[in-house]
């Protein structure tokens, strides 16, 4: 009886501490996307470099590709940008840029200044396609497989760690399948 008297509150306390401890290391801004495992939402948008040309999701069928949401006004995009440039140099996987709620001229100037890692960038000026992809903060990066299904979503700037440990291994696995 004595043991229970101490044991029960102690157990409740331990559970509470456990929950809070895990909570410390979780980012509430990272909302899991319901789109992972679903076909990538279709778009048909203008190419940033060649405004006359339309680019559609279906153009990438048969290859693994990344969709990286970026904007010239986005500060944390600058953090991940050198990594993307490096990734593009390694030619590991095509990166498609979604220039989100940006002005074309600003976007082009930004790419000229910081380097352009994108196979191509598409223009989502009013953010309509962003909504379809469940974008709520820039930058965001999606991994899309050969069949056009979203396999992974990274929220916030891509880190070297995320790239090496999660994104690139997944890309390699998907490319082999």
């Amino acid at each position: 009886m004595k043991a229970l008297r101490w044991g029960i509150p102690l157990a409740i306390f331990a559970v509470l501490v456990g929950f809070l401890f895990v909570g410390l290391y979780r980012d509430p801004r990272e909302v899991p996307s319901p789109l992972v495992g679903k076909p990538a939402p279709a778009f048909s948008l203008a190419d940033l470099r060649e405004p006359g040309r339309k680019v559609a999701t279906s153009d990438f069928k048969g290859q693994v590709w990344l969709l990286n949401v970026w904007a010239s006004w986005c500060v944390s995009c600058r953090v991940e940008h050198p990594l993307l440039v490096e990734l593009a140099k390694a030619k590991a996987v095509p990166i498609v840029g979604l220039n989100y709620k940006d002005k074309d001229a600003d976007g082009l100037a930004w790419l000229a200044q910081h380097g352009d890692p994108y196979t191509l960038s598409v223009v989502d000026a009013d953010g309509r396609v962003g909504i379809d992809w469940g974008v709520y903060g820039v930058p965001e990066t999606f991994v899309v497989d050969k069949a056009g299904v979203i396999r992974y979503k990274h929220i916030g700037p891509v880190t070297a760690e995320a790239l090496q440990q999660t994104i690139l291994p997944l890309v390699r696995k998907l490319q082999q399948s």
């Binding site: 899991p32 319901p34 903060g137």
Partner: protein, 159 residues
């Protein structure tokens, strides 16, 4: 005279304002109310503790525009919610659905309540048990003491 001029000016402004208001189509109050209620139930993903109706974030503006467009195209509230949940997950709902992953959220409080009731019952039972055992094993008042007390009471009432 000056007051009169001011009054005239004020009236003129009032008229002008009234006229420009009258030219706009009357807002559909029922429709606006429905949108407000719907948006008050949806969470803004940027300012996570604000509703879509309250948030000034650019994404909230876009989503409000989207919700309005969907409502205008004849979609029901449930269809609009489904549209947003398909893109942003249950997180956009302030009223999350009951399913396996939200069981703890919905039933956790009742679990805690049940635990509290169990503890309370245990305490009550132990106290009652303690009282009974005290009466049986070691009488609170010695038998000769109560005998003496009765005698003393008899004496005072008779004397």
């Amino acid at each position: 005279m000056r007051t009169l001029a001011r009054l005239a000016l004020a009236l003129a402004f009032a008229f002008a304002a009234g006229a420009s208001l009258a030219q706009q189509p009357a807002p559909d109050l029922e429709f606006e109310g429905r949108l407000k209620r719907l948006e008050a139930d949806l969470r803004c993903l940027v300012c996570q503790n604000q509703t879509l109706a309250d948030s000034n974030a650019p994404l909230a503006e876009d989503l409000r525009r989207e919700v309005r467009a969907l409502a205008l195209s004849g979609k029901s509230d449930a269809e609009i919610r489904t549209f947003l949940v398909a893109r942003y997950g249950d997180f956009v709902l302030y009223d999350p659905p009951v399913k396996e992953s939200t069981w703890l959220l919905w039933f956790g409080p009742f679990l805690l309540l049940g635990g509290g009731v169990a503890v309370w019952l245990a305490i009550v039972r132990r106290r009652r048990g303690a009282g009974v055992s005290a009466g049986a094993d070691e009488p609170a008042v010695a038998p000769d003491a109560s005998e003496r007390a009765r005698k003393m009471l008899d004496e005072t009432s008779s004397g």
